[in-house]
């Protein structure tokens, strides 16, 4: 048994001991309070970063994209812009989103495709579509490491260990069939690290109940005092396709001008 396996065994033993001496799943925080703690976690008012996207199909063929992006909060409204740096066939493609605090209000989203030289408005209900060939949906990209409060009902179903970290298991069910179809998800089971309130693993099923994908967040470390996921890996069980996002040059103290989050900048590039 190697060191990692020893650690996992020790953690599991601790969990079993915790249950045996009287603890039970009923005393675990409920799903909604876990979601609120995830979303209350400090993400900084703004951030700039580069993301390397590696997409590998089931035959092992890998495509790599380099992007730069900014995100900034305006009270509870979040604005995000992502611009592709390479390769040439997607270079200068841009995505801009305004995510409003009002759950009843649809997000506003725009896509700039350099081949058309036009900024195109896209429907917020496209959120279940895969983002530019990755295995992340537009919704996943928008939420980053947060969770949607309005789209799911949540229930804490137990505990687990992911990469040696204790997690709370939360089952998330879309609030209705329409939302499920929009998201493309019938059920999600997230494993939330209750020491830093970051999702370490998500297992997702499609609307028919078949396993769809698994996301693993790793290389989580503090940057300027803020817990930051530096690696997000998602594997699509239906297609065998896999996407890895690696975050670099994360800076929560970068001064980001408001005019960065405009259609003009989307077209012009960062």
């Amino acid at each position: 048994m190697n060191n990692k396996q020893w650690k996992q065994s020790a953690l599991l033993m601790s969990l079993l001991l915790f249950v045996w001496i009287g603890g039970s799943a009923n005393e675990l925080p409920d799903g909604d309070s876990i979601a609120q703690r995830i979303n209350a976690r400090d993400e900084g008012v703004s951030v700039s970063r580069d993301v390397k996207m590696e997409m590998t199909d089931k035959r092992g063929k890998t495509r790599i994209r380099e992007t730069s992006g900014y995100r900034k909060y305006y009270d509870d409204e979040k604005r995000t812009i992502i611009i592709y740096r390479s390769p040439k066939n997607v270079k200068d493609t841009g995505f801009l989103t305004f995510d409003y605090a009002d759950p009843e209000k649809d997000d506003d989203q725009w896509l700039y495709l350099p081949a058309m030289r036009k900024v195109r408005r896209i429907s917020a209900s496209d959120r279940g579509d895969y983002f530019l060939g990755t295995d992340f949906s537009y919704e996943d990209i928008k939420l980053e490491t947060r969770v949607s409060i309005k789209d799911y009902t949540r229930k804490t179903i137990g505990e687990d260990v992911v990469n040696d970290h204790h997690c709370l298991l939360v089952e998330m069910i879309p609030v209705n069939e329409t939302v499920a179809k929009e998201l493309g998800y019938g059920k999600a089971e997230t494993c939330v690290d209750d020491s830093i309130w970051i999702v370490r693993r998500s297992r997702i099923w499609d609307v028919q109940g078949n396993p769809l994908k698994t996301t693993i967040n790793s290389d989580i470390r503090q940057v300027q005092g803020i817990w930051t996921v530096h690696r997000m890996q998602v594997e699509n069980h239906k297609t065998g396709h896999q996407t890895v996002f690696t975050f670099r040059n994360v800076d929560y103290q970068a001064v980001i001008d408001d005019n960065v989050f405009t259609k003009q900048r989307l077209k012009r590039g960062l």
Binding site: D106, D108, R117, S123, D129, Y130, H241
Partner: protein, 441 residues
Amino acid sequence: MIRTFICCFLIYSSLLAYQGQALELDYSTTIQTRWGINTRNGSTQSLNFRIQPELVFHFDNDIRLTAIARAHSDIIDKIAPGSVIRESYNPASKPLLITHKLELELRELYVETEWDNTWFTVGKQQVVWGKADGLKVLDIVNPQSFREFILEDFDDSRIPLWTVKVERSFGPIDVEFLWLPDQTYHALPESGSTFGFTSSRVVPSRPPADASVDLLLPKRPDRIIRDSDAGIRLTSFWKGWDLTFNYLYQYDNFPVLKQKLSQTTNNIAVTITQLYKRTHVIGTTLSNAFGDWVIRGEIAWFSNRHFLTRSPLSHQGVISSPELLYVVGLDWSAPYDIFASAQLFQSWVIKPKNSMNRDRLDNTLSLLLSRQFLNDTLSIELLVLGNINDGDGMIRPNIEYLYNDDLKVWLGADLFYGDSKGLFGEFKSNDRVVIGMEWVF
């Protein structure tokens, strides 16, 4: 005179570049080849080859210089680079015709810089207005090459112009000002070329059989200041709506074909002149998303358009009138990841005449269906464009596969239907299958 402008541009860009060190150079080359096979007779309609190097210099003083060149050749004579009327180009912007089948072109050369929150883009460039797909309403700042009718991608068919573009934000409103001292207009195909127009909508009515015809070359305006175009666009985002208000003072990119009949001692002589006429264009665009739907709209009022008459004896073969042109489009994110988009284009002649050879109201519909597969490496698309008045149109299925980030291949078809009097139906003998490949490195 445009040479003066180009000299100023070169001095300006040199000074800007001189102030800063080149930090980064992006270089890429695109090689594209397309083979078009006529489905009616199995002959090769086009076999073209294009190489397009692109350089982008980033200087440490936030200056960016972009240069794009292109060599284009087609071995089939009637669709070759030399098969367009080249007199519509400003000499300083005209591609260099090496042979009838090979041309070299400086596609774009422009400098971008910011000063005091104002963005300047100066040089030969493309400016894209509007929100319509497939047909143009407000995307009229740059003229277009009709060498392959409207089958080329807009990015390829649009003719870049020497332009000064200035952009600045004033609170919630972004203002874009344009000055275009480049008098280059639509490049129309020569009569007898594969996509040479024959429709009575754009070709003057036939003169009497015994008449002699003298077609004069286009009279292109050439005064750098007085004949330049200028425009302004205001862009805003208001309660979920993307809005623009556009104004352009330009020469209509289509020449006005006037016919003059004269009686000589032996026969009738017809002289056809080609003139470019000024027009004001006032327009607006809007778009918004509602659930699965995105609505797009575009409207343009032209103060002075010209329409051919049925007889050359009437109004010298052409009448003038304001025109109202608009498009309403609906995009639908349909189930199974299908993207569907429908558009209705309408054109109203505001002051019609009975002798006009088109209806007062002209209607064109478009339908686009597309879907991506295999993580966006395989895409299938079907575009249908149809003119309701003439009952003609075209159907364009296409399948494209991205083998890797550097190489894509595609197979498509361009199929025309309808009466030969229509803009689409006139090309029904040109139905083709197209196989293409593009390599980027």
